[in-house]
């Protein structure tokens, strides 16, 4: 919804005022919606990890979702800001958070992608 709202803002604003918004729009849709939805459905649907912990290490999943959303929020705030060293630092931090999140989520789901 936030991404689509940004899409509306992009459509009605002048090119000079929407710098950074297209990248924010794409990342909110692809990371915030698509990737997060995929990991949510995978957590629910994929074959059980084991009898003791059917959904694997859920702590990894929670940490991954937390880092992903914090990274996305930092990115959404910093991307449209004017070019500056501070903005660049925030963008790099958001990328590091998202990379760590993806790593945790992949490690969490990987053992459940298996042949029966």
């Amino acid at each position: 919804m936030v991404a689509l709202g940004i899409g509306v803002v992009m459509a009605v604003s002048s090119p000079g005022t929407r710098a950074g918004l297209p990248a924010t729009y794409v990342h909110l849709l692809v990371v915030g919606w698509l990737t997060q939805l995929i990991f949510g459905v995978a957590h629910w649907l994929f074959p059980r990890a084991s009898g003791d912990a059917p959904r694997g290490n859920e702590g990894l999943g929670w940490a991954g979702i937390l880092l992903l959303n914090v990274g996305l929020l930092v990115r959404a705030v910093s991307e449209p800001l004017a070019l500056s060293a501070a903005r660049h630092g925030l963008l790099v931090a958001s990328a590091a958070l998202q990379l760590a999140a993806v790593l945790l989520l992949v490690v969490h789901i990987w053992p459940r992608v298996k042949e029966r």
């Binding site: 994929f46 990328a95 990379l99 789901i109 990987w110 042949e115």
Partner: protein, 141 residues
């Protein structure tokens, strides 16, 4: 989960990791070098991750054929699709990143298209209303 679905889904997750790592490099690396890799970043995440994961899950989870074997359709075209899709991602992504001639990028896209046709051909007859294709009472399967 069949082994081919495992192959698609695990490769999709590796593409997600690679694409995200490249995304971090785009922001943290030397802009003159890093920004050139943006097309590969996009290709890995949209096709290598999103599309490939959808293919793997579809091959696994769509209704099986009720009366035909193999129940998920022939495996060979799907195995071929995995090679075509991943080859296409790297050929097109690296081609766009390094400014190769258009025919090279076209080759990558054609490879991806062939993979899509193969997977769609497998999935199409498996997308059907509940109970369709099953032998009716009194009918010999």
């Amino acid at each position: 989960m069949p082994s081919l679905a495992v192959r698609f889904i695990r490769t999709a997750m590796l593409s997600l990791l690679g694409g995200t790592l490249l995304g971090a490099f785009l922001l943290a690396g030397e802009p003159a070098i890093a920004l050139g890799f943006r097309p590969l970043h996009v290709e890995l995440l949209l096709v290598g991750w999103g599309l490939q994961l959808a293919f793997g899950v579809a091959y696994w989870i769509l209704p099986k054929h009720a009366t035909r074997t193999p129940a998920r359709g022939a495996a060979l075209p799907i195995r071929l699709a995995w090679w075509l899709l991943n080859g296409g991602v790297w050929v097109a992504g690296l081609g766009l990143s390094f400014g190769t001639p258009p025919w090279w990028v076209g080759l990558g896209r054609l490879s991806e298209l062939c993979a899509v046709i193969l997977v769609a051909s497998n999935a199409w007859p498996r997308i059907k209303p509940f109970g369709a294709g099953r032998p009716q009472a009194g009918e010999v399967a």
